[in-house]
Structures are given as C-alpha cells and as structure tokens.
Symmetry: C2
Subunit: 141 residues, 2 copies
C-alpha cells in the first residue's frame, strides 16, 4: 500500500529543492556525492541533469549505473533518498529542450557539443523521513 | 604540494556547515546518502557523528567501510567531498563527551545505551570545488 501523504511530501521536497545530491560509486569502490542542479524532474520516477562527458561523474556512471539521489531540508528535518539507476544520454531532443544560450561557456559547440551529456536517473525505491519517522516505498512509474 | 588556500576554504566550508552528507554503500551495492549532524570535526581528517546500532547506516558501515562525506554551499557554489573510511565506535570517553541530556529520547539508557553508536569517519582524499574549478588533494593527519 502506498502512503499518499508520504509521496506528496516527497514530491513537495523535490519541488522546492534547487539541487539534488547524486550518489555514484567510483572505480575504487567508494561512494561519491555531488550536488547537481535539478534540470528536470518527472514526479519521483525520472530526473535529468546536465553534465560533461569528460567529468568524473560520467565516467563512474558508465562503469557502474547504481546510483541514488538525495534531497533534504535542514530546516524541517525532512529527507528523501531515491535509489535506482543512472545512465548517460546524448538524446538530441532532450539536449535541445534543456539548452540555454548561457550554457555555451561550458559547451562551446552548443546543444550538440560532444561534451554535453545528460545524466538520466530512474528511481526504483524511495525512503522519506521527517524527524524520527522514516518510510520505505517503491517508486511507481 | 598542498594548496593552503584550498585547505583553508575547505575548512571554512566545514566550519559553517551544520550537517554533512555521509555516503555509504548498502548490501545490494547501491550508494546511499544521509545528512548527519556534525558532532565533531578535527580539521578535515576526522569526523564524529551520533547514530544508532540498529540503523541502516550502521549496518552498512559494518559490512563496507568505504565512505565519503560531502559538504556544499548552494549560495557560493562551493563543495567539498572527502573520501575515506567510516567505522563504528562505542568508545565510552567519546560517548560521554558527546552526550547531552536531551538525547535520552533517542537513547533511554544514556551515554552507555547499546543503541548509541558513534560513526567515526577518517578522510584520506579530498576534492574541493568552487564554480568550475575543482582540486584534488590528500588529507594529511
């Protein structure tokens, strides 16, 4: 049974978050964390982030797609961790959709720059906590 | 060669952070993140957090000590990720040192409560970024 209130609170936390902390595993088997600007979120299931082909993050995801995405609000003691898979995408439709002209300082060739890669995170499980209470749930499509 | 300015900026970021995001790896091989209240930090090398023996985090650390600790400031676009080892500690000196009476709601038996466990994180490597620049460094004792 899905607790609707937990899902609503989780979505609200994602909505008001500017960044999410992406967790990946590096080649030496260490967890790694980086705050990523939330480019697009479709509910709690699917997230898109802009990255660089040459980045550590992209290299790690290519070798190990196990990932998590974490949002928290220090003021309200709320947190949400989504576990799932991260994959790299060069989808031109998505790269065009997310393109803004001020991104040219990072990607000189524009939206088709080979260094402009998207990280596509798909959540499978979620854990939401508020204070001392925490709840595991499955992330439906 | 250690860049003193990078170390100073990293320490300043830690000092003004109320929490750090602890990264661990669970039994299924997925990275996991949780914001932890920073109980004690000795420079960039050693960190202590209060946790529960029965928690997911403690269980994960017992099986895989590879960990990271991440601090970031969304306003200044600064971030620091420390990679190293996490271990559980029941050291009575430390548990007494960190004990506050209002923690009794979590640990009814006080500082020697068997559920009161400390997470001791020791950093080996660091990466500090500010805007587009990022620097790797070794964390000295």
């Amino acid at each position: 049974m899905i607790n609707t209130e937990i899902l609503e609170k989780s979505k609200d936390l994602v909505d008001r978050s500017f960044t999410g902390a992406l967790g990946t595993i590096n080649e030496e088997g260490f967890p790694q964390i980086k705050a990523m600007l939330k480019t697009q979120a479709n509910g709690l299931k699917e997230f898109w982030f802009c990255s660089n082909t040459s980045s550590k993050r992209a290299t790690q995801i290519r070798k190990n797609s196990n990932a998590c995405l974490y949002f928290c609000d220090e003021k309200t003691y709320e947190g949400l961790m989504l576990s799932g898979q991260a994959e790299l995408s060069y989808d031109d439709g998505k790269r065009n959709e997310f393109w803004k002209e001020d991104m040219r300082i990072y990607y000189p060739q524009g939206s088709s720059d080979p260094d402009f890669v998207l990280i596509h995170f798909t959540a499978v499980k979620g854990n939401y906590y508020h204070g001392l209470q925490n709840t595991d749930f499955t992330v439906e499509a």
